[in-house]
């Protein structure tokens, strides 16, 4: 097991039942301007996105009929994209892990090794996704949304025409 995979396993274990510090860092960020809802949502979306993408790349590597160097480029590009968003969300541990994992991909000598590393990173992002999910008051905010929607008209609805759906 390489150093990065050992670290990933340790972080998954640590974040399993107790909220990782990155969640609190993210929630504090932009709090002063009243935009913390968007901050939370964009961090949640980034984790969800990367978790789904890496799983598809993992399955392709398991399939065994794809080009190793192209898969490294595609998976590394997906990790780097979210690493830079994690930086702006102040989730510095996630940023550091993703940049180092993207670099570690290059060391994989076959699709099996690449699949294993991608899976570990995907499981780490999976853990972070649930940690961020649990930090959101779904029930309360859902009620607020339903109240607000009652008299909210989207700016681009005027002139919209529906085909019949019934």
């Amino acid at each position: 097991m390489s150093e990065i995979t050992k670290e990933l396993e340790r972080r998954i274990e640590a974040g399993w039942m107790v909220e990782p510090q990155d969640v609190r860092r993210m929630l504090k960020h932009n709090d002063d301007m009243g935009r913390s809802f968007s901050q939370w949502l964009y961090a949640y979306m980034d984790m969800s996105q990367l978790q789904e993408i890496l799983y598809q790349h993992y399955q392709l590597c398991l399939g065994g009929k794809v080009d190793l160097e192209t898969m490294k480029a595609v998976a590394g590009s997906a990790m780097n994209t979210v690493a830079s968003s994690a930086r702006s969300n102040k989730m510095e541990d996630v940023m550091s892990v993703l940049y180092r994992s993207a670099a570690a991909l290059n060391g994989c000598k076959d699709l099996e090794e690449l699949a294993d590393l991608i899976r570990k990173v995907q499981r780490f992002i999976n853990m972070m996704f649930y940690a961020i999910d649990l930090a959101f008051p779904w029930s309360e905010v859902s009620k607020a949304y339903n109240e607000i929607r009652k008299d909210f008209v989207p700016p681009h609805r005027a002139g919209a025409v529906d085909v019949c759906d019934l």
């Binding site: 301007m33 935009r35 901050q39 700016p155 681009h156």
Partner: protein
């Protein structure tokens, strides 16, 4: 000197095009102009608004510098023009192809600050020669 012109709320606002720092991007923007689109307010950064466009700019950013108040950048992923028009914590570095002078930014800022509560308002974008 070429100017980027935004028309919304019945008024015209200008910024200077950076034709020497981002010639290819400026050319792509001018080629797509004029067009009408909507302002969308940035969800995290304060004093940033952007508008979706159909500009096919360079795939690799020509002038990727950390964004400061007054910068105007083109983002190729969502094909949007982003304007930073006041104090803000930048998220990254866009492909900056135009910039407000302090005077231009002041009048733009006065009109744009209300857009957080008025998302989706229409704007026409054009490139004009300085009179």
């Amino acid at each position: 000197m070429k100017k980027l012109k935004f028309t919304f709320h019945g008024k015209d606002f200008y910024a200077n095009m950076l034709t020497d720092q981002a010639p290819v991007t400026c050319e792509a923007v001018e080629k797509a102009c004029p067009f009408t689109t909507r302002w969308v307010h940035a969800k995290i950064v304060a004093n940033e608004i952007f508008c979706p466009t159909k500009i096919e700019g360079p795939v690799l950013r020509e002038n990727p510098i950390p964004n400061l108040p007054g910068d105007i950048g083109l983002f190729d992923t969502p094909q949007t023009i982003c304007c930073w028009h006041g104090d803000m914590k930048p998220l990254g570095s866009g492909n900056v192809f135009a910039r407000f002078t302090p005077e231009q930014m002041e009048v733009f800022h006065a009109e744009a600050t209300g857009l957080w509560k008025e998302p989706g308002s229409l704007v026409t974008v054009d490139v004009v020669e300085e009179e």
